[in-house]
């Protein structure tokens, strides 16, 4: 492998009808170098990657030049591109759960890259596949080549995808949001692996990510993109120091957005009390005669949320936080323990308690799936009125809708629109309006900002703080992301394998964690370099 391999993109443009997807994008990548493209959704960063691979959706023809060691890839025939993919340039995708063929063993899938490009014998290829799987952290004695993808976790599958991409030692690797779908600890491992591969094998890597913090620790060069254009580029340190484009500065500030929460009322009465709650699920039986095992999704959890308090709940996927949320919302009964609001149980006998439900409302993650597409906004946000004992008069209803919409920064006229007329951030505002309309005592934010772009996320966080000041809200803020929880909560709980392993004031837990799991979470979380003084003013 020559060390002077080069991938140069010059004036790459792409349009679909009148829509400009890419506008004169240029970048260059050398062996042993990591270049990152970052930007919010719709910036064209993934399209750039697909254009380089020649894998754009059918009917899209880019213009400009993409040169690999001086050879223009855009003028290559499809057959020549096939010879190049996997051989000279490897690619890794975002979603490891679906990136592998579910019907073929991982060994065969890694093997395939070798067999289609080289004359190597099957036995030799098998040896090389085992070697590469070992290299990416899947030693064959533990993870046999004959395993199927569904027998591996998301992080392990991503390792297989990486193995497939690097097995022929390509000169360049393109990684499209390679860790977005993974937990922080897994993300840190995969990023470390990628960095190590680049350094040791002398590959050049183009990484596409929306996460500035990931970029800061990894890339040598950064390109900031918005709406198909490169706004700013440069070596990482210089770019972070200069931030000459206002959009870059905005992205940077939004990524580390800190809100200022008013102090909580001192020594208020307990509002939500969760006491020794356990929720177990039956696992399918392994053999015909073996005893059915159960899995404790929530294992003996207790905590108290006081009136006016803003409590955070943090944990990785599968830790049981969603199950706990559902139990608190009264959507699922628990097997043991009690959940009470102001002393009244969430479940009254076999039915959920209406009075309690009225006082707990929720905002979910997905701004697009949260509303029935066939109803108008006014009807959607007044859905919680179903919990009232007597229906409101038409006038009171309209007044409440207007008030709620105005409170979340929308216009009273928006009540007559359908949800598809709103952007993702606006829909999340609607979801908050729906949660507010009954003036509940507690709002549960279930990953409520996780699906949003950073700039929108910052706005929604500001809105939450603003509302909590105006309405003296108490809330439970559930997130997988430590950096979000940091400023929006007074107190935080860390959950692992169904149990709360650490809790305490947010500042304390996130600065001086005591439990090893919290420590590992914090260590794994990518961190932005400190904001330059000039910018912070």
């Amino acid at each position: 492998m020559s060390d002077d391999s080069a991938l140069d993109v010059m004036g790459l443009s792409l349009s679909l009808g009148r829509l400009e997807i890419l506008d004169a994008v240029s970048l260059s990548l050398r062996a042993g170098e990591i270049v990152a493209i970052t930007g919010e959704s719709g910036s064209g960063k993934s399209m750039t990657a697909l254009a380089i691979m020649g894998l754009l959706p059918a009917g899209m023809r880019p213009s400009g030049q993409i040169q690999l060691d001086g050879r223009d890839m855009l003028s290559l025939s499809e057959r020549e591109m096939c010879r190049l993919r996997g051989n000279d340039i490897g690619m890794i995708f975002q979603e490891p759960m679906t990136a592998l063929n579910p019907l073929k063993t991982i060994g065969d899938q890694v093997l395939e890259t070798i067999l289609i490009h080289t004359e190597s014998s099957k036995a030799a290829a098998r040896l090389r596949a085992a070697e590469v799987l070992m290299r990416v952290g899947l030693p064959p004695e533990k993870y046999s080549l004959s395993r199927y993808p569904h027998q591996l976790s998301g992080g392990q599958r991503q390792r297989v995808v990486i193995a497939m991409a690097i097995v022929l030692r390509p000169k360049f690797l393109i990684a499209d949001e390679p860790t977005t779908a993974l937990d922080v600890t897994t993300q840190a491992q995969i990023l470390a692996l990628l960095k190590d591969l680049v350094r040791q094998e002398g590959m050049g890597m183009l990484i596409i990510t929306h996460d500035l913090a990931v970029v800061g620790n990894l890339a040598d060069h950064i390109l900031i993109m918005r709406r198909g254009k490169v706004l700013e580029r440069g070596p990482t340190k210089q770019l972070f120091a200069a931030m000459s484009h206002p959009y870059t500065r905005m992205l940077f500030e939004a990524s580390s957005h800190q809100v200022s929460l008013p102090p909580p009322p001192p020594e208020a009465a307990p509002l939500l009390q969760v006491c020794d709650v356990t929720r177990a699920y039956q696992l399918p039986r392994k053999g015909i005669f073996s005893v059915a095992q159960s899995f404790r999704a929530v294992d003996n959890v207790s905590f108290t949320l006081r009136a006016g308090e803003r409590l955070g709940l943090v944990g990785e996927s599968g830790c049981g936080k969603s199950t706990l949320t559902r139990a608190i919302l009264g959507l699922e009964p628990v097997q043991a323990g009690t959940i009470t609001l102001n002393g009244a149980p969430v479940w009254a006998g076999a039915r959920p308690n209406r009075v309690v439900r009225r006082n707990i409302q929720v905002v979910f993650q997905d701004p697009y799936g949260s509303f029935n597409p066939r109803h108008k906004v006014a009807r959607l946000i007044t859905e919680p009125y179903h919990l009232l004992d007597a229906p409101l008069s038409e006038q009171d209803r309209e007044a409440a809708v207007s008030e709620a919409l105005v409170a979340v920064g929308l216009s009273p006229d928006d009540g007559g629109k359908y949800p598809h007329e709103f952007s993702g951030g606006q829909r999340q505002r609607l979801a908050i309006a729906r949660a507010l309309i009954l003036r509940p005592e507690l709002i549960v934010f279930d990953e409520a900002v996780s699906a949003l772009d950073v700039s929108v996320r910052a706005q929604i966080l500001d809105l939450i703080v603003d509302l909590s000041t105006r309405f003296a809200l108490s809330y439970l803020f559930i997130s997988h992301d430590l950096s979000v929880v940091r400023s929006i909560t007074d107190r935080v709980m860390v959950m692992q394998a169904g149990a709360i392993v650490e809790h305490g004031p947010t500042d304390q837990v996130l600065v001086q964690p005591r439990h090893p799991y919290t420590q590992s979470l914090l260590a794994a979380a990518p961190r932005l370099p400190p904001l330059p003084k000039r910018v912070a003013q």
């Binding site: 959920p352 209406r354 979910f364 509303f371 919680p384």
Partner: protein, 273 residues
């Protein structure tokens, strides 16, 4: 939009036959019971646009009256499928994983093992042949079809967050099924309904052909074909006319179904063709 092309053409063809069936109630060119032996087995003429059969009956009139039978049988059978199948599917989805869900789905599987022809055979064995048999036989077979489609669609909706929100708002499974699930399944059910309607017309023709469906003197396309069988070598129009009527109706319905799916299914909308 290729989709709207097929939709318009399909709807036009379907409407043509529906109109013919309706018009036949007030007017047909000739009385379908009128036997006119001197004019038997005529090829299409100025007087008999589609010719006459072995009794000299006017084929156009018989096709028009036969459309009545076909459409009525298929429509009622689809109605039975929707009225019973859709609530069952909604119920099974609302109680996913419960014994009720299991029971409904097992019963569905069981009905699938009885093709409508077999059901028709059984019914005929008890009550004798008739158009009602065809309705019941095809209708029963439609129940599991709609139950499955409804359950499948409803299950994916139940996972969505707007259903969770409705549950947080304290709404019961029944209310959520009616208010949130059913309206969002309407498109799916309309498309499936069109498909089942066309299958119903084919099934009715088959049953009448073997003598398990409509009985004389009620004209039906399937029986016209059965009568034509022995004469097809010297009077091919006897088979071509009712066969063409069946094919065009079914084709029209299927094209309409495809067009509707392209038009209504947001998942397919905007997908490059």
């Amino acid at each position: 939009m290729r989709g709207s092309y097929t939709l318009i053409l399909g709807a036009a063809m379907t409407l043509c036959f529906a109109a013919a069936a309706l018009v036949s109630f007030i007017w047909v060119p000739f009385d379908v019971t009128l036997v006119d032996i001197p004019n038997k087995l005529q090829r299409p003429t100025g007087q008999h646009w589609l010719g006459t059969d072995h009794f000299g009956r006017d084929l156009l009139s018989m096709i028009m009256v036969g459309a009545r039978t076909s459409i009525a049988v298929a429509l009622i059978a689809v109605g039975i499928g929707i009225l019973i199948g859709v609530p069952l599917g909604l119920l099974a989805a609302a109680r996913k994983g419960s014994w009720l869900d299991e029971m409904i789905m097992r019963a569905n599987d069981l009905i699938f093992a009885f093709p409508s022809l077999v059901i028709a055979i059984l019914i005929t064995a008890i009550f004798g042949a008739g158009a009602v048999n065809a309705i019941i036989a095809i209708g029963i077979f439609n129940i599991p079809v709609f139950a499955r489609v409804t359950r499948g669609g409803a299950l994916s909706l139940w996972e969505r967050e707007f259903i969770l929100s409705a549950r947080v708002a304290g709404k019961s499974g029944l209310l959520i099924s009616v208010e949130h699930i059913l309206p969002n399944l309407a498109n799916l059910l309309i498309v499936q309904g069109t498909i089942q309607f066309s299958l119903g017309i084919l099934a009715e023709a088959g049953l009448s052909y073997v003598g398990l469906g409509a009985q004389p003197p009620l004209p039906s396309w399937g029986r016209m074909l059965a009568d034509a069988q022995t004469m097809v070598s010297f009077a091919p129009h006897l088979a071509l006319v009712p066969g063409g009527a069946i094919i065009l109706t079914v084709l029209g319905l299927n094209m309409m179904g495809d067009g509707l799916r392209d038009r209504l299914d947001p998942k397919l909308r905007g997908r490059p063709v």
